[in-house]
């Protein structure tokens, strides 16, 4: 996946960290200290469609570009998460029991075009 930089407007992954202390949740979430949420943003031109992680294959991108140039009607695609991982939490529930769980698909690791 590609990390978002200041100049690029293409599909990329933006890092976003939610600090549990900052939002007042540190009293009931024991671990971790925050949530690396991250999200996907940016443009997905036609020739980038269907490329997980955008730079997965240069040749695929070139072939898609040729297809796109020859296409009669352009179809947009979206910049979406292509790789995610669970968020492990250790927290107090409403009865002050302590729960450890992995919430699946909570952290965006990579983005790509649909």
């Amino acid at each position: 996946g590609i990390e978002c930089s200041g100049t690029s407007r293409m599909c990329c992954r933006k890092e976003f960290f939610v600090d549990f202390k900052e939002i007042g949740w540190e009293d009931w979430i024991i671990q971790p200290e925050g949530y690396h949420m991250n999200y996907c943003a940016g443009l997905c031109p036609m020739h980038m469609a269907g490329i997980p992680g955008l730079a997965a294959s240069f040749h695929t991108a070139v072939l898609n570009l040729i297809k796109a140039n020859n296409a009669d009607a352009a179809v947009d695609s979206c910049c979406v998460p292509t790789q995610r991982r669970p968020l492990s939490l250790l927290y107090y529930d409403r009865d002050s029991n302590i729960i450890k769980t992995d919430i699946p698909d909570m952290i965006v690791d990579a983005c790509g075009c649909t």
């Binding site: 009931w28 999200y39 943003a41 979206c78 409403r94 029991n97 302590i98 769980t101 699946p104």
Partner: protein, 232 residues
């Protein structure tokens, strides 16, 4: 997929940076609470001491890697190892005891499990951890009773009973999976355990002296899948 020429997340980019941050934090909060099936953030009135928590986590880790079982108390071998599939959310639960009535020969412990568990969750395994301080050398028999309130609610009746022999001071584990499953099957949240020793120990458990010896139940559970067919 794009809908009406717009991608679902495109609206975020149109917001000013400060609003973007507020929206993302709101999304993060809502996402965590909904995945934990919590209507709102819990308000913690009685946080567990750090000593008790660290000790419990260490014991759980040691238990996972230790194949030895307590004498006379084999763990249920029919429980399969945890292999979470895609989308299956598993939990490990730690419930610390609340002390009930006690004498020099017996003590009652109450465990209140989470409100979200009964009915919606499958208990895979549950283990009671107790720290004993034996009065001297030799074998010390202990009777452990699982109690439930009788229909009138005025007194407790014994549901099951087991005996344990302790030879030295230290942690002892007891499989309470069946007791917890039966409890949840009745829609109850509370487990009451009575520990009784044969001789006068003045205090059967060390819990009152040290936070890190506080008794607890560690359970492994997973969200019950509605489409699963179970054969008994």
């Amino acid at each position: 997929a794009p809908q009406g020429g717009l991608c679902p997340a495109c609206g975020l980019a149109a917001l000013p940076p400060a609003s973007q941050r507020d929206v993302l934090i709101a999304v993060a909060k809502q996402s965590i609470l909904s995945k934990l099936r919590l209507p709102d953030r819990p308000n913690i009135t009685h946080p567990t001491s750090r000593g008790a928590l660290l000790s419990a986590l260490r014991r759980m880790r040691a238990q996972h890697t230790d194949t030895t079982v307590s004498p006379g108390m084999p763990h249920d071998s029919s429980i399969p190892p945890l292999r979470p599939g895609a989308g299956v959310q598993e939990f490990e639960l730690l419930s610390f005891a609340e002390s009930g009535s006690s004498t020099s020969r017996s003590v009652r412990l109450h465990f209140h499990f989470t409100q979200e568990l009964p009915g919606s969750t499958e208990i895979l395994q549950a283990t009671l951890y107790l720290f004993w301080a034996v009065p001297g050398p030799g074998i010390h028999p202990i009777t452990i009773k699982f109690l439930q309130p009788d229909p009138t609610g005025l007194s407790m009746t014994t549901v099951s009973e087991t005996r344990l022999e302790v030879q030295r001071a230290g942690w002892v584990t007891l499989d309470v999976g069946q007791a917890v499953r039966s409890l949840f099957g009745r829609g109850s949240q509370s487990l009451t355990v009575e520990l009784e020793v044969a001789e006068d120990w003045s205090s059967p458990l060390l819990a009152g002296h040290n936070d890190s010896h506080w008794p607890f139940v560690a359970a492994q559970a997973r969200v019950r899948m509605p489409h699963r067919v179970q054969r008994r």
